[in-house]
């Protein structure tokens, strides 16, 4: 199954909307988009996961890498609106707080201090 990635600037944040399954086969595609954004100096990223039906450890590693790069550049990575299965993977991996996960895109863009995890 293929992955689609759209980006949209909202204020000082880029919302990266991902749709499809994020696994070993598709993760490089998202990684390329993130690399492009970072190259352009965009380091405040919100990933809209509402249409991501599946994410495995390869997918998680893309977010971890994005977070490391954005942190280094003084930016931020937040996740928004994960489906139940993806949220479960974030919880099992213990990354739900590390990756600042919010129930909605608006909340993630606003960066209110009430992540879904807490």
């Amino acid at each position: 199954m293929s992955l689609t990635v759209h980006t949209e600037q909202r204020g000082d944040v880029v919302v990266v909307s991902v749709a499809g399954e994020l696994d070993m086969a598709t993760a490089p595609q998202l990684q390329d988009q993130i690399t492009d954004l970072l190259d352009k100096g965009r380091n405040r990223l919100v990933f809209d996961l509402a249409d991501v039906s599946f994410c495995d450890s390869t997918g998680l590693s893309v977010f971890v890498r994005a977070k490391n790069s954005c942190d280094e550049a003084g930016g931020v990575v937040r996740l928004a609106a994960p489906q139940r299965g993806v949220l479960r993977i974030l919880e099992v991996s213990g990354l739900v707080e590390v990756l600042h996960t919010y129930p909605t895109v608006d909340q993630a863009v606003a960066g209110e201090p009430s992540p879904a995890s807490s």
Binding site: T58, V64, R65, V92, L95
Partner: protein
Amino acid sequence: MRDRCLIQDQQGTRKEPDITSDLPRLAAVTRPHRGPGLAGSSVVPYPHGGLSRHANLPPGERLRVLLVEDDEGDAFLVGELLAETNSMIDLQVATSLSEARRRITNVDCVLLDLGLPDAQGLDGLRQVLEMSSGAAVCVLTGRSDEHLGIVAVAEGAQDYLVKGQVDGVLLTRALRYAVERKRADENARRLREVELRQAESARLERGLLPQPLMTTDEVAVHTFYRPGRHAALIGGDFFDVVQTRPDRLDLIVGDVCGHGVDEAALGVELRVAWRALVLAGVPDDEVLPALEQVLMSERRLQEIFATVATTRLDLDANRATVRLAGHPPPLLLSGGRVVPVPAPGGRLLGVRPRRPTAYDLEFDTHDWSLLMYTDGLIEGRVGTSDERLDVPGLSGLLDEPANRQVSLPELPAWLVGRAEQINGGPLADDVAMLLVTRGGGR
């Protein structure tokens, strides 16, 4: 020094064999004519000994040959030789190396004159070998440079032909043979590469999936490993079992994210590091933090992490301590029920370290099993939906009445079989499992 003749006259310094047919021969002084077709020749002369005298080459595909030759006359003559013998060869001519470079794609064989003006001798050959990749290379040498032909073959050409000693049949045969030999060499090389990769994978697998280090017969441990659909890419799944006291057994199942030799090698390092930490008697609570340090200092890339589940069994007390670091929980089979061990989910190793919480599990009876596994087992699909098997689905499979007929040693393989059935095909990722059982086991 160029030798302009493909075939020299009979008064040459070397005695040529008798030529009994009037096949066209290349000569600088006399332009060839079209002789009678080969089909009509009962005896076909071969200046070289040792080759079959059957004129008709076995039927085969058409070959595309690129002749790199700056002498128009010689180029014309090669074309004539091939035309005469019904050679099934499509000849193109390039008059220089730079032209050859543009035309070399989709060519089966390059026939190279070693005396080109823009690259004399072996230098030209090296350039052609570099640009030819899949194509075979034959060289043409002058009679006085025959030694160059031998050197050319040593450098990587498939064959050499001496001008003045070639007729159409020999030329055709040499070109076809060169192409076949190049293909055989390529196949042998690929086979060797595959063998090396397999040997490397096998070595890594042995490192990731060792023999349990235990002597007790209070419990039995059944191990299982199945590579994923992309079998060429070895995963970083690993497990290990170590007994440090008569009543104590430690077990670990883990997974380094990513697929490749580096990740697998890191999995081996973590597995060995864990075994060493346990054998060294490092306090239980300190083992995973130390393992995380090993991971973070040894990994190639910052974003590489690992998930692990560990279990320490206290056999005398019939008790277990389970720790999870980003890993799905073991399943407990006991009293006819299957439940995930409700250990708190700790953070995976390698991203903002946090000590996993220990969860103590008291067994009610002496008949139980713990199933530890990697996430490849639970990431399969459920039918055609977006749903994945996940932990509840896996528990459900173990609750199916059918598995009561399956013996405990067979249970891991049976589970993977069922997961694949529901997935509608082989699972994408590697699966590693440890099944530790006591008494009747469930």
